[in-house]
């Protein structure tokens, strides 16, 4: 089929208004806000339901056209920019919140529901429940965040967001619509099992295993009271002990760390935010005293934050976008990295050195996932999108940071193509072999976001 015939077929599936090969749309979808270079896109398609996704996938499989699902497009690492051209499937029109189960505490949603939409819906209709919220603007989709092994608010207490998936509906490369989790057996999307758990095949796979059209995610009770205990620590080497003590109390809902040279008051310190929750002000007072005591005994000190700052951080989604405007240049990308706790001091020290090497003001951060079991580190680089040299400098810094992370025993998260290659270079060969076999079994024509996790 030629391009015109494919266009007509796609239009027949989703309607003329939701397919484009106009140059302006292809331009927008050929890039993301990160530092990746633009890559070719042939069609943008915006499906409205699972059946349409199924038909598009069947067509793509028949014609061997690459197909790349996109949510909010905010991974920043180019994961939604096709590597080998083809179709970008913008999922955001599939934005129905199908069910909220207040007893089993889950939400069954379509893949295009944004975190902002879900948060707002729950605030209005289920004020006692809260969803996990990524460190991203509200336009990030819930599915996108979950499927990249995301993390964010509630991760310290309840674990990584990827682990909060109860079930999936996936369109496989052959066009089958397959359910995973308890929903494969029951009408209730309340758990991943107890059956062989294949949901992991689709997390951090970046769309290479199938296209997720629905998912069920865990929701959590909303505490009556929430407070942030701010702290400052001058030497990152004391961080692991401090974090062990805080997490051992069981009080922390979230723990975030930051280290940056700007603004001036932050220079030379690790900035600590411990979120605590409770049923009453008395609960908060008690926990606050305990956390402050831990700060004191761990070479940190409590910092009384201005009300404006406290409110800013308590208003969680707003937090995310500000970092992207750090240099007023419209460009921002970071290496997120899953790190073992004991390597955090070294990561801060070497991360700052690396940023300075590239002439970038160090902006480092981290949050705990599931207690101290994982720390996700952020090595952030903002750049001027209108300056190609500055973008190239950021790309070099990002690449060297990926190398640093792997040297320290960590793993780059939602890694861009070059980062994926570095990870594959260190991966157990039999893991790679198995991954390849699974991929060929599921997608023999290689249409699912090809180029990602690709091994020879």
């Amino acid at each position: 089929m030629n391009e015109e015939e494919i266009l007509i077929k796609l239009q027949n599936i989703v309607g003329k208004e939701f397919v484009s090969n106009r140059s302006e749309d292809l331009y927008i979808y050929s890039q993301d806000p990160g530092a990746s270079l633009p890559r070719q896109v042939d069609f943008v398609v915006i499906p409205g339901k699972s059946g349409e996704v199924q038909e598009i996938v069947k067509l793509a499989n028949q014609e061997k056209i690459p197909i790349v699902p996109m949510g909010g497009g905010l991974t920043l690492s180019g994961l939604i920019i096709p590597v080998k051209g083809g179709i970008v499937l913008d999922m955001k029109r599939m934005n129905n919140i199908i069910e909220v189960n207040k007893f089993s505490q889950y939400a069954l949603i379509e893949a295009g529901v944004t975190t902002g939409q879900l948060l707002s819906y729950l605030n209005e209709n289920y004020p006692n429940l809260q969803p996990p919220i990524p460190d991203a603007p509200p336009s990030a989709t819930v599915a996108g965040n979950m499927l990249i092994h995301g993390s964010g608010y509630l991760s310290q207490r309840y674990g990584g967001h990827g682990a909060m998936i109860n079930g999936l509906e996936v369109v496989l490369a052959n066009g089958d619509i397959c359910k995973f989790g308890s929903c494969a057996v029951s009408d209730y999307w309340f758990d991943r099992g107890p059956i062989p758990d294949f949901i992991g095949l689709f997390t951090s796979a970046f769309g290479t295993m199938g296209i997720v059209t629905k998912l069920s995610i865990q929701l959590f009770p909303k505490p009556k009271e929430r407070e942030i205990i701010f702290g400052l620590m001058s030497d990152p080497k004391d961080l692991p002990e401090l974090l062990l003590k805080i997490t051992a109390t069981g009080y922390a809902e979230d723990i975030l760390l930051g280290m940056q040279d700007k603004p001036e008051w932050m220079k030379g310190y690790v900035f600590i935010m411990t979120y605590i929750t409770g049923d009453s002000e008395e609960d908060i007072d008690l926990q606050s005293k305990v956390i402050k005591r831990i700060y004191r005994k761990s070479n940190a000190r409590f910092m009384k934050a201005p009300e404006k700052m406290r409110n800013l951080y308590l208003d969680k989604p707003i937090f995310a976008a500000g970092a992207a405007d750090f240099r007023k240049g419209g460009g921002f990308e970071y290496v997120g990295a899953f790190m073992p706790l004991e390597k955090i001091p070294e990561a801060y020290e070497k991360g700052a050195e690396l940023a300075r090497k590239y002439g970038i003001s160090p902006t480092l951060g981290s949050r705990l996932i599931g207690g101290v079991h994982t720390v996700v580190m952020f090595f952030s680089y903002s750049f001027n999108r209108a300056d190609s040299e500055d973008m190239e400098n950021a790309r070099r810094a990002l690449h060297e940071t990926n190398q640093l992370v792997l040297e320290l025993g960590g793993i780059p998260w939602k890694a861009e193509l070059e980062g994926q290659k570095l990870i594959l270079g260190k991966m157990d060969p039999n893991y790679i072999k198995l991954m390849k076999k699974i991929h060929i079994a599921l997608d023999p024509n290689g249409i699912m976001n090809p180029g990602n996790w690709e091994v020879d």
């Binding site: 106009r22 976008a321 405007d325």
Partner: protein
């Protein structure tokens, strides 16, 4: 401030991160950008539009009618300016879109339908975007016994003068009744439609003409019942480098002052459930949200109900930014969404303080059989009996 893209694009346009806040309501419940909600391609969000403009100016994409269509498919409602998180950037988003339209016009890509606006306004028998013969307002002056010189000029605006004459006449009767010393001028278009669509070549000539007419009356105060004229006179005229010593009022501000001073005593009631639609040009563009509400609340009998999206969060009526003339079908679809929202309040009257909103809401009301009364605030006053004191 009008952004000159040739000068400033490097400093401003590329700052958009495409984070997507611009698409939403403040609480993220729904998409509140009419353009994105309609088209659903990222291209049609303000973020997408900023990137397109950057691509055009940097030469990464060529100018074409298709790409210019994206720049024009926006009612410039300002939802993006309210929700973008980047300070000292968000306030310029609408300016950047208008400046890009001006650039498109310079390069010969002004869409045909929008071209009609400038052709009619520049036509020396019209001077208005509706293509009507120019009214020098002398008949109205006679009818209402208005002087040549006065303290105030009532700047009627083209929509009120050529389409919503009931609103114009209600305003004239109100101003007479409350004993305002005012007159009319042989006004030409304030230029809102051509500024919004980037056709700015003769704007300064029109401003100079209107200012001369105003000066001839000796007036120092201008009052208008049009949110579009209000924004244009108060904001855009200054951006075009004009220096004037005039105070600009919307009629709703005058009504509020009179009510606050206790000069209006109502002798009848308006026993209806009313919902107020915030015009973008008065609300998000001029930050005027509470004054109209205070006025409605003081009208005896009115039950004022808020729509879910109100004030900074209001859904646009869909008429502005050249959308009414450029995309007429879509324009009333946008209004229909507003009427659907109004229906949920239980109101039987949807009211605003802008003739252009009134036009588009009325068009949708008629087209979709929504059974609302669409009334301007001043028309509601026109239906009331009240006494005016001079204290």
């Amino acid at each position: 401030m009008t952004i000159n893209l040739e000068q400033d694009w490097k400093d401003i346009v590329h700052r958009c991160f495409r984070c997507g806040y611009c698409k939403f309501t403040r609480e993220f419940a729904d998409f509140n950008c009419p353009s994105y909600k309609k088209h659903r391609f990222e291209t049609y969000s303000t973020g997408g539009r900023m990137w397109i403009i950057y691509g055009l100016i940097s030469g990464e994409i060529p100018w074409s009618q298709s790409v210019v269509n994206v720049i024009y498919a926006c009612s410039t409602c300002g939802n993006c300016t309210e929700n973008c998180r980047f300070e000292k950037f968000n306030e310029f988003l609408v300016d950047i879109i208008e400046a890009a339209r001006a650039e498109a016009v310079l390069k010969g890509f002004c869409p045909e339908k929008q071209k009609a606006l400038i052709e009619r306004i520049e036509n020396e028998t019209m001077f208005n975007p509706y293509g009507e013969p120019n009214s020098n307002n002398e008949l109205l002056k006679k009818e209402y016994n208005l002087p040549d010189e006065a303290e105030w000029v009532y700047f009627i605006g083209c929509t009120s003068n050529y389409r919503q004459t009931n609103l114009r006449d209600a305003t004239l009767r109100f101003l007479k009744k409350v004993n305002i010393d005012f007159t009319l001028i042989d006004e030409h278009c304030c230029c809102s439609p051509v500024i919004r669509t980037g056709q700015v070549n003769s704007v300064t000539d029109f401003i100079s003409y209107n200012l001369t007419q105003i000066k001839n009356t000796g007036a120092k105060k201008i009052i208008t019942s049009c949110a579009g004229c209000y924004r244009t006179l108060k904001k855009d005229w200054l951006k075009f480098g004009v220096d004037y010593d005039l105070q600009i009022y919307h009629t709703v501000e005058l009504v509020k002052d009179l009510l606050d001073q206790g000069r209006i005593k109502f002798n009848s009631e308006y026993n209806k459930t009313v919902t107020y639609h915030d015009p973008c040009h008065l609300g998000r563009h001029m930050n005027l949200y509470e004054i109209p509400r205070e006025v409605y609340k003081k009208v005896p009998g009115i039950k004022l109900m808020e729509m879910k999206r109100n004030r900074e969060n209001a859904w646009c009526c869909g008429a502005g930014g050249g959308v009414k003339i450029g995309f007429p079908e879509w324009s009333v679809e946008i209004s229909k969404e507003r009427l659907d929202e109004a229906k949920l309040t239980g109101a039987t009257v949807i009211s605003s303080v802008c003739p252009f909103c009134r036009t588009n809401l009325s068009d949708a009301n008629k087209k979709f059989n929504m059974n609302f009364e669409v009334m301007d605030l001043i028309e509601i006053f026109d239906n009331l009996e009240f006494e005016v004191s001079n204290k």
